[in-house]
């Protein structure tokens, strides 16, 4: 007969297991719910993290580095402007001036590139010779002891008519100036619609610059000056002895197009001056008014570059900029 004892014992063990609810199987609902909520909370934490990252992103500066390119463009324009006037002061024919400027700007560019490399940018500036420079004339008086009259010592005279003008600078002896506004030295810039008259005079302790704008309104600025002093006036930059002189801004705001530049009461001021006009020396030079370059006498009209075109490249990790600039520092109107 077969032994069935084991089978009966196995059946009774299985019956013991079936109805047991207490113990390890209890609390599954809570466990599942707790897991689900935990997952949701993790999701919420990630969402909040994204919100924080967004705020971080929003407060970062723009990473295109285009401001660096714009700053470099400003440096190129200012640097090239200073170099252009230095080359013009050296003198020469138009061809020699262009070559001199090309070489000088190349040297400046090498120096600037070394400095820009420190900030992680590669730069280059060069003279654009396919765009012809604007050939002009430099009118100047290098003799500081002479008054501002023309070659024939005419006190009221016109320097140039119907021209573009830039870089008008004076270095005037305080002692030579008139003490009365009416009879003082006047610079008149006239575009045939409006005229801006700038008078320079003094009292016992100050030098005054009085500007009558296109509407006939006169405003004044002044600077302290002792006997023996010289005072610089930069008309286009609006500066008197290096400090801002707002009335001079009228030459930018009230004039338009070509202008005529003339002096009145030129015997009432002594010192040096220079200005550039955009007509060739052949047109502007008038033997009754000017001395030729190298004569040692004043005033002089000589060949000069009025405006040139330069290009620059600025390259950093995120940015490449190539730009061509017209350089004509201190242009009036």
């Amino acid at each position: 007969m077969a032994d069935v004892t084991d089978a009966v014992e196995r059946a009774s063990d299985a019956a013991d297991d079936l109805p047991r609810l207490g113990g390890d199987d209890r609390g599954q609902l809570m466990l599942v719910a707790a897991l689900a909520i935990a997952v949701l909370l993790v999701g919420l934490a990630l969402t909040l993290n994204t919100a924080i990252y967004t705020e971080n992103l929003a407060t970062r500066t723009t990473d295109t580095d285009l401001d660096g390119a714009v700053n470099h463009g400003g440096a190129v324009e200012a640097g090239a402007g200073t170099l252009l006037d230095e080359v013009n002061r050296e003198g020469g024919t138009y061809g020699e001036l262009a070559d001199g400027f090309d070489e000088t700007l190349g040297n400046w560019s090498d120096g600037a590139a070394t400095l820009a490399a420190v900030r992680g940018a590669a730069t280059d500036a060069s003279y654009v010779d396919h765009a012809d420079p604007v050939e002009g004339t430099r009118i100047s008086q290098p003799d500081a002891a002479r008054n501002f009259t023309d070659r024939n010592e005419t006190a009221d005279w016109t320097l140039a008519s119907d021209v573009g003008v830039r870089g008008v600078r004076f270095n005037v002896s305080r002692d030579s100036l008139s003490t009365s506004n009416a009879s003082s030295f006047h610079l008149v810039v006239d575009d045939e619609t409006n005229a801006v008259e700038t008078a320079v005079y003094r009292d016992s302790s100050r030098v005054f610059v009085a500007v009558e704008d296109g509407g006939g309104v006169e405003t004044t600025c002044s600077v302290a000056a002792d006997a023996g002093d010289y005072v610089t006036i930069d008309v286009a930059d609006g500066r008197l002895n290096g400090t801002a002189c707002d009335p001079l801004d009228a030459v930018h705001t009230d004039l338009d197009g070509s202008v005529t530049v003339s002096y009145r009461n030129a015997a009432e001021a002594e010192g040096t001056y220079e200005l550039y006009v955009n007509e060739t020396n052949a047109t502007v030079f008038d033997a009754t008014k000017y001395e030729p370059a190298g004569s040692g006498s004043s005033p002089v009209a000589q060949e000069a570059l009025y405006a040139v075109t330069v290009s620059y490249v600025y390259e950093s990790g995120e940015t490449y900029v190539y730009r061509e600039l017209r350089v004509a520092p201190g242009e009036v109107a």
Partner: protein, 169 residues
């Protein structure tokens, strides 16, 4: 002399107590309160937990949508700033060529997105995939702006005099 006590005496007392208990219970309704209590506890727990889960998932979903919208707005404004910077250089006098890379995140709140440039309405339209959120950011340029559509991530803005400002990935 006391006779020795038999173990059976203690056993008799035990049998009497069991006999009394069995006598009070009367059949099928035995243990009902335990089962009822268990079912009630379970039901209330299920209802409470379901409510909690629904509310929490709705809250998380709303927050995610809101965060996506905010981030798309920030990303759009960064790109608009880049486009306008490039445009300023392009619009300045003199010939110029500009190429600038704007580093944008490839995903916002875990979802990909696309950027569409609409020159007709001077707008950038940023659309995320999931949740689908659309954000419009205005962009003003002086030079011409080319229409394009790019995926999120690093974006290159170019300017040249012939084609104006272009956005490409």
């Amino acid at each position: 002399m006391t006779p020795p006590t038999l173990p059976d005496d203690r056993g008799d007392r035990g049998r009497r107590e069991v006999g009394a208990h069995v006598g009070r219970s009367t059949g099928a309704d035995r243990g009902v309160s335990t089962a009822l209590g268990y079912v009630l506890t379970l039901s209330i727990t299920v209802v409470l937990i379901s409510g909690l889960l629904v509310a929490a998932s709705g809250f998380v979903s709303d927050e995610r949508e809101r965060v996506t919208e905010t981030e798309l707005d920030v990303v759009g404004n960064r790109l608009a700033a880049g486009i306008e910077s490039v445009d300023r250089i392009g619009a300045a006098p003199g010939e110029s060529r500009v190429e600038a890379t704007v580093r944008l995140p490839p995903r916002v709140a875990g979802t990909t997105y696309t950027i569409e440039v609409l020159p007709a309405s001077n707008e950038l339209v940023l659309t995320s995939t999931d949740p689908e959120v659309t954000v419009r950011v205005s962009v003003e340029t002086e030079t011409s702006l080319a229409a394009s559509r790019v995926d999120g991530g690093d974006v290159t803005i170019t300017y040249d005099p012939a084609s104006g400002v272009e956005v490409a990935s």
